[in-house]
Structure formats: structure tokens, C-alpha cells
Assembly symmetry: C2
Homo-oligomer: 336 residues x 2
Amino acid sequence: MNTASRVRLSPAAATLALCLLAAAAAAQDPLPSWNDGQTKKAITDFVARVTRAGGGDFVPPAERIAVFDNDGTLWCEQPMYFQFLFAIDRVRATAGAHPEWKTTEPFRSVLAGDMKGLHAAGEKGLMEIVGRTHAGMTTDEFQKIVADWLATARHPKYGTPYTECVYEPMLELLRFLRSAGFKTFIVSGGGVEFVRAFAERIYGIPPEQVVGSSGGVRFEVRDGRPVLVKEPKVEFVDDGPGKPVAIDRCIGRRPIMAFGNSDGDLQMLQWTTAGAGARLALLVHHTDDEREYRYDRESSVGRLDKALDEAQQRHWVVADMKADWKQVFPRSPAPR
Amino acid sequence: MNTASRVRLSPAAATLALCLLAAAAAAQDPLPSWNDGQTKKAITDFVARVTRAGGGDFVPPAERIAVFDNDGTLWCEQPMYFQFLFAIDRVRATAGAHPEWKTTEPFRSVLAGDMKGLHAAGEKGLMEIVGRTHAGMTTDEFQKIVADWLATARHPKYGTPYTECVYEPMLELLRFLRSAGFKTFIVSGGGVEFVRAFAERIYGIPPEQVVGSSGGVRFEVRDGRPVLVKEPKVEFVDDGPGKPVAIDRCIGRRPIMAFGNSDGDLQMLQWTTAGAGARLALLVHHTDDEREYRYDRESSVGRLDKALDEAQQRHWVVADMKADWKQVFPRSPAPR
């Protein structure tokens, strides 16, 4: 028996060792996928200011609320919001039970692979597809359907599961903020149940910290067993001015940091930065058509126009994906 | 200089000392205001089972969700929900700006102190009073109005601030559960903004863990400054079947413990206990007309009828306030 194998840590000593390790880790660069520069410095300086005990900008841990948009901010949103791609796949998967879809728009276009027809149906058509494919099942059943889809579907450009199309720099940022005592929330235009199906596993954000759009849900007792059944009607759209409203309803405290990437995040950033004390707003600007996509003012998905102007006027931080991010995805997949 | 004053704890040693103190505290009775007996044992046994690592009923900390009704479960709800008493006070305080109220029911009854007339207006009348007194201001202004009321208003029976009409045994229970890794939520039929005005201070429950009924809120930019304005329409009633729906929407995970006191909590308890694995549902039964109030099946406020039957059938825990609680209020105020 050698000496090393006889070392036994008491639980207290083990706790202490973990504390020391955590302190050592924090001393290293917390954002290694961010290139050094103004953007990274704006983030780390802000966190240092609000966490410095006794400093003028100190914020108690309970008030360190950071909100993140999801599509285009934490994961990719091109060529279309992933939830729409999910809905389209669901139309195909359940078409057998809906023979009428073969002749009814927008379902006909989806089944015929007629992207032009689908485009013509516009947002209204997409919302109808979402409504029909996201209702009629229990909430538990829906969770399973999304989980199965996430396990098998692949992104058309990268060929990876959608859950790998998340931004490594933002994953680091989430961990960094949590290690600094922040509570991280998602405030997404996507459906709250859809986002929750992966948020805990890929972002470390538990379901109770996911805010999103929501449809009607009905409580029912079936064969003596209570279930929640999803209804086709949209009850709340968590986008644009809906975001501060949802923050008020679900979080009840004004965030001190907000992260977005499109005009749909404008009011959330306005609401966050209008509070007293230190505040930080950041927009992810999609400038990298090699590693990801390049789009802003003219894009139909994730348009960034008014919010970009306001960011310039108000000196919000704009993260230039091409310049500021050393790495985009966790596994840096090459485009196919 | 004596020896004791030269002892200096390094930060690491201080952390260690705190850990040891916390462990020692947990070894003491965590629920001293609960009389020993079946009810207390049901709670402590349950917590021991779900937190015992390696045990068959172990629940990971992230899934230790406990939900609490507020009115009648965490604080008193007699002679009327406190939020209604607040609304009535607001009618009186703002009557100067509404001369028409002198001749319009239910406002006339409130201003005339005509409790019979107010009673005749029923729940519809009360909801109208709530709607009118809870709208037209910004969310920040409303928080201040509630805080001011809580600081000055007194309970008609106890003569204490309403925030002292909270149940000491339940405060202990909240702390006990949190020390066992639970996340404690309020799921109240009361307005979410009203409950948040005191939940953090008196229960240690942060705003993002308060779920409640809600009215419309509108985002607006006033003089270049974004505000959220409260609207008179009720958007969501977090009562009865609304409670599991709200739990799904705001928490997104099925609780493993649920605490209520009335038929309005029935579906929340059904939903909680229908999940797989260890579950505990508890009803507070108001049996103590000396120290508090005595009411159940016939009460107009906080009726406990169907849920009491179901508790007996399903072997839910029923806390008998008179028998199970050594102390009711933190300061044990005597009735006036």
C-alpha cells in the first residue's frame, strides 16, 4: 500500500478543498472563447463592479438577475427558428392522421416541400402550423415529443443536433455569471415548454428560470388522473414589448443585465437599462457568414435594425460575432 | 492582549466553521413550533426520505420543489382576504378623485361602511373593487402603495401589521425545507404583485418564486422612459384548476410537496401527488377559534370541503392548527 492511497479527506476537508479549487478556477480567464478587446472587457468590468463588496455599484446577489434571449442569442436561429423546423417536421410526422392537410394550406406546402408556398403563407401560416402541432397532447407527452426530435433531427447546414448549435462564448458567459452569484434566465419568444425541453441540459438553466411564449393549457382529470392538456390557442407572445411584461410577471424584479440579438429584444434591453444603478445591455451581432450566418437590418428572421441604432445611441455593448468570438460552437462544426 | 483576541480565522477556516455550525443547527429540532406527533413526523420523515443520498426515494436538489398557497396557509385570511381589505382601504384613500363612487355600487357601500351592501355585491363586486384599485399606475408605483399600506394598516382582530399575521410554524417549515435543498414557491390566488410586495421580507421567498393571479400590464415609453402600466382587466386567476396550470407555466416542473388550506388548492395537491416517486400534500385545517379562527366546510372565505374529503381518502396530511401548532404567530398576539 503506498502513502497516497491512504490519504482520506474528511467531509469538511473535502468541502474546503472544493472551495479552494473553485477560487482557483475563478482566477483563470472565465471567457476563453471571447477574444480580448472592448466587448469582453465591458462584460468582465461590469461583473467586477457589481460584485465588489463595498463598491459604489455593488448589487446584492438576490438582485443579480441576467436575462437572455434564446434564438440568435444562445443558439442559432437560421435558416429559420428551430421551433418552426420542429413544427414542420411534426406536420410530416403526423400527416397520416390529417388527410385534409394534403389540400389545405399551409400544410399542403409543407407536405409538398414547397418552400415558396410556405413562405407565401407568412407568419400567420407558421403560427397556424405551430398551433396545430403543439396542441392536443398533455404537457408530459409534448416534452417527450420535443426530446425525441432533439435527439434525432439535424441542422441543415451543420449536420449536428440542434442542441449543438449553441454558442460556446454564451455558454461560458452563463457559467461565469452564475459563478459570480447571478441568476440566469431565458426570456424567449419561443414556446416556454419547447425551450424547457433542453434549457437545463444544455444551458444549465432550470425550467423555473425559463420565460417564453405560451399557449393555453387545460387541467383535466382523465381516468382519475390529473393531466394538463395543451390547447391550440396562443395566450402570450413573449416578444418585443411582451418581454418586459413577461419579466414583470414571471421574474418580478428588473434585471441588471440583458442579452439579445434582434429588434424583438429592444424593449427588454430598454426596460433593463432604465433601472437605477449599474446596468449592462448587450446585442449579439451576426457578422460571420463563414462560421455562422451574417444578417441584421434586412433579415426576415432575427432582424436587427432599430435595436442596433439604439445600441449605438445608448452605448450598449455590441458583440461582433466575427471579431469577438474565438470559437462559435462547442465542437466548432464545419459547414457541410 | 489576551490569547482569545489574537485568534484570527482565515476565510477558508471561517467557511469551514460556518459549515459545521450549519450542520449542528440542522441536528436540532427544525420545527420547534410544531407539537410532536403524526403531522410533524410526516413532514420530517418525508424530508429525510427524499434527501437521503442513495435511498430509494432520493430526489436531486434541482427537483425539490415545494409549493405553498398563501392566504390561510402562510398567513391569516380572516375576516377577509387581506388583499380585499387593502382594496377597500384604497377605495377610501382615493375616493376624492372619484366623486361618482358615492352613488355607485359597490363603491358606495365601501365608503358608507355598509358591510351588508358590500356583501350583497358578492365576489363580482369585490373583483370590481380590486380591478379599479389595482390599475392605472405603473408597477413600481403599485409596489410602493402596497408597501405603504403594509407599514400602516392593522389587522382588525389582532391590531398588528398584516405582515405579523403569518404562521410561525410555516415560517419554520419554509426555512427547514430550504435548508434541506428545497426551492420554495408561493402559488397564490392573490395578485402576484401584491404578494411579492412582502414575500421576500417575511417569507424569504424572492419575487421570481412567487406565482399568482395577474392583471394586464402594458409596456409604454413615457417621456423617453419605459414603464409598465397596470390595466384593470384580470388576465389569469391562479385558483383551483388554475394552480396546476400556473405551476406548469411559471415553474415548469411538478412539485414534490404542496401545502394548502382550501378547496382552491385541491387541484394543486392532486397535480403534485399524481407525479411518480415520493410526494407529500398537506392541508392546514383552521381549528383554533381562540388563537386564530375556526372554519372549514361552511366558510365563505377559504372554504375547505371537497379537499378535506379527498385528503381523508388519499391520506394527505392534515395539520390541525389547534393540536399541531404550539405557537400560531411569531409574536403570539392576543386577540383584542
